[in-house]
């Protein structure tokens, strides 16, 4: 059996059903082996989209996503997607072709040191030296990608190794890995802090979904009655409509969430990492709070904020162990009152489409089981603020790297994970152009993805910052020469239509939901529509700016 066949067989043994990729010279032996495999290969139109689709597939399904590309530019085009998975701890295995070992280090055609290039953005990587080690490398790659704190793993496969005939016995026992439980001592001290606290807040991040600890979080929150705030990636860990959910915290968080954190005397950080977008100015963050930090990754404990009670280990065990009633009723009532007095106002003046209102209506129509893949920018924050989620796997968003162009490929990945699900890509006129070529992938596979493209003829978030923090000195944010996106979509085989006025919103949503194939709604919004509230650069979360007339 050839090395390429070993690889494909090993992937099958890992349960891989879908690979997102793009062929080329050095990876050709693997594409040849794929012909005889039950694994489905999805041909994207740019390798970055392959990596991001694998990321979206993994986020939505909880399985390891797999992408593949050839050597040189094929491999380097994967890098942004690999970095995206690294920053958001998403289990992805990226397979790259490499020039033959005899040519490595000679600056051969399409040779690049992808192993070296990706070192800072992978959890681990392998350069395959012999065909016989391929099955074990694949098994290790999958184990590493999904164990502990998940992340991307690279397998770089030289072409001669892929073509080498070798022997291997596939029945060898496989290694398994369990995440350690928290220590009794750490749980005991955390319980002590919880009992002593009068104003605790649960600060929930993406780790809860990754640890599949949704039920345990619900048990912890409903038993303790601790109010909950979520990071961008933590949204949906507790249903966003749950009574105790105060909303997203941080730069574009809700007032109730940020004020609760700032007033708290105990922060129970659950699978989050004190990211600067969540904390604002770090030395002004939760100034009165002690910290209990629950995380599977010991490297996150006290990395940015000292944790009085570190609890390292499996979140499911930790949350179950900490679920005990607390005497915090006055604080609970205060937090819920803050939430009630700061509800969103959807009555914007004018007749133009108001994006928050559009998204609220779309969320209500799409129901609780839809999956939303966002791009990056203002629309991303509006989705976080106004869409309702009952699971973090419903909300695919590039939190750490902030990758414009993430949304459409991620939606493609999610649709392959759940072919019958309603998958929506919310994008902007800047982001959509980053992976617009994937309209062709939607058409090729007739994916019924619903694209909501908010078009303000600008790089909206950058424009907003220039308006608010750079004295309206606008620099390279004008996109008024955008193409007609509805026509572009039509030319690539998608149904499409344009929405100019608020009065058209309900029928637009009807059209979107009724579409059986890929569809794009080109939604025109005001160029100066901003995301509110906002915590300015260098400010603490106590200093939120409300909508201002500028």
């Amino acid at each position: 059996m050839k090395g390429a066949q070993f690889l494909v067989k090993a992937l099958e043994r890992e349960g891989v059903e879908v690979i997102f990729g793009y062929p080329g010279g050095a990876i050709m032996p693997v594409y040849d082996a794929l012909i005889d495999s039950k694994i489905r290969h999805i041909l994207v139109r740019h390798e970055q989209a392959a990596a991001l689709a694998a990321d979206g597939y993994a986020r939505a399904s909880g399985k390891v996503g797999v992408c593949m590309a050839t050597s040189g530019p094929g491999a380097t085009n994967l890098v942004t997607g690999i970095a995206n998975a690294y920053m958001d701890s998403v289990p992805v295995v990226a397979i790259t072709g490499q020039v033959a070992t005899s040519l490595m280090g000679t600056d051969a055609f399409q040779e690049v040191d992808i192993f070296g290039i990706t070192l800072p953005v992978v959890k681990h990587s392998f350069l395959v030296r012999t065909a016989a080690e391929l099955p074990e490398i694949v098994h290790e790659a999958f184990r590493i990608a999904r164990s502990g704190r998940p992340g991307p793993v690279l397998i770089d496969l030289p072409k001669d190794i892929a073509n080498t005939v070798a022997e291997y016995e596939f029945d060898r026992a496989s290694k398994s890995e369990t995440t350690p439980a928290p220590s009794h001592q750490s749980i005991a001290y955390a319980k002590q802090l919880l009992r002593a606290s009068e104003r605790p807040v649960a600060y929930v991040g993406g780790g809860v979904g990754m640890a599949k600890a949704i039920d345990e979080l619900k048990l912890f929150v409903e038993t303790t009655q601790i109010p909950v705030v979520a990071t961008l990636k933590g949204l949906g860990s507790i249903p966003t409509r749950h009574e105790l959910a105060l909303g997203m915290m941080g730069m574009h968080g809700t007032k109730a969430a940020n004020h609760a954190v700032q007033e708290s005397d105990l922060l129970v950080c659950i699978g989050a990492r004190f990211d600067d977008r969540a904390t604002g100015r770090l030395n002004g963050f939760a100034p009165h709070a002690k910290v209990i930090h629950l995380d599977v990754d010991p490297a996150e404990i006290s990395k940015l904020r000292h944790a009085e009670a570190p609890v390292t280990g499996n979140l499911r065990d930790s949350l179950k162990a900490l679920a005990a009633p607390l005497d915090i009723e006055p604080w609970r009532r205060k937090c819920l009152a803050m939430k009630e007095s700061n509800v969103w106002n959807y009555d914007a003046p004018g007749t133009e489409v108001y994006a928050p209102d559009f998204l609220k209506r779309l969320s209500e129509r799409a129901g609780e089981n839809c999956i939303v893949a966002c791009d990056v920018g203002q629309h991303q924050m509006w989705v976080a603020q106004h869409f309702h989620f009952t699971s973090p796997a419903q909300h695919l968003t590039s939190g750490g790297l902030g990758t414009m162009g993430f949304g459409l490929p991620a939606a493609i990945g999610a649709q392959f994970a759940f072919p019958d699900a309603t998958v929506i890509n919310v994008s902007g006129d800047g982001s959509i152009m980053m992976n617009l070529q994937e309209f062709a992938t939607l058409r090729r596979y007739e994916l019924p993805i619903k694209i909501v493209l908010f078009d303000n003829s600008a790089l909206g978030m950058v424009r907003q910052w220039q308006e608010l923090f750079h004295d309206r000195r606008y620099s390279e944010v004008d996109l008024s020469d955008n193409p007609d996106f509805a026509l572009v979509a039509q030319s690539m085989g998608l149904a499409s239509f344009r929405v100019d006025r608020r009065s058209e919103v309900d029928s637009a949503i009807d059209q979107l939901m009724a579409a059986r194939g890929p569809v794009l709604a080109h939604v025109i919004i005001h160029q100066e529509a901003n995301v509110w509230p906002i915590v300015g650069p260098g400010k603490s979360n106590s200093e939120m700016m409300d909508e201002v007339a500028l």
């Binding site: 070296g116 959890k123 990754d297 010991p298 490297a299 006290s302």
Partner: protein
């Protein structure tokens, strides 16, 4: 600025030492000294490394410890000479 002296056992695998140095640089620790010797069976490298940084040493230790190729990492006490460098760096 504090000085940190580390002893590590690292799997003798493709890029393992580069990975250690990459994490050290990316986490903003400056390298002052590095020595690496293969174990007799060639399976591991015993690495001694001295670094300095304004950041707390545990932030580097925990990042190194989670590398797949690092099987052991421990902090060694700085020598008197290194303490002298540390004090000089602080303007003492």
């Amino acid at each position: 600025m504090s000085i940190l002296k580390l002893q590590m056992r690292v799997r003798h695998a493709e890029g393992a030492l580069v990975r250690v140095l990459s994490v050290t640089r990316r986490r903003r620790f400056d390298l002052l000294h590095l020595a690496a010797d293969a174990t007799p069976d060639g399976a591991f490298l015993d690495v001694q490394m001295t670094v300095q940084a304004e950041r707390a040493g545990h932030t580097l230790i925990s990042q190194l410890a989670k590398l797949e190729d690092v099987s052991e990492v421990e902090i060694l006490e700085p020598t008197d000479a290194e303490r002298g460098v540390q004090l000089a760096g602080q303007g003492a």
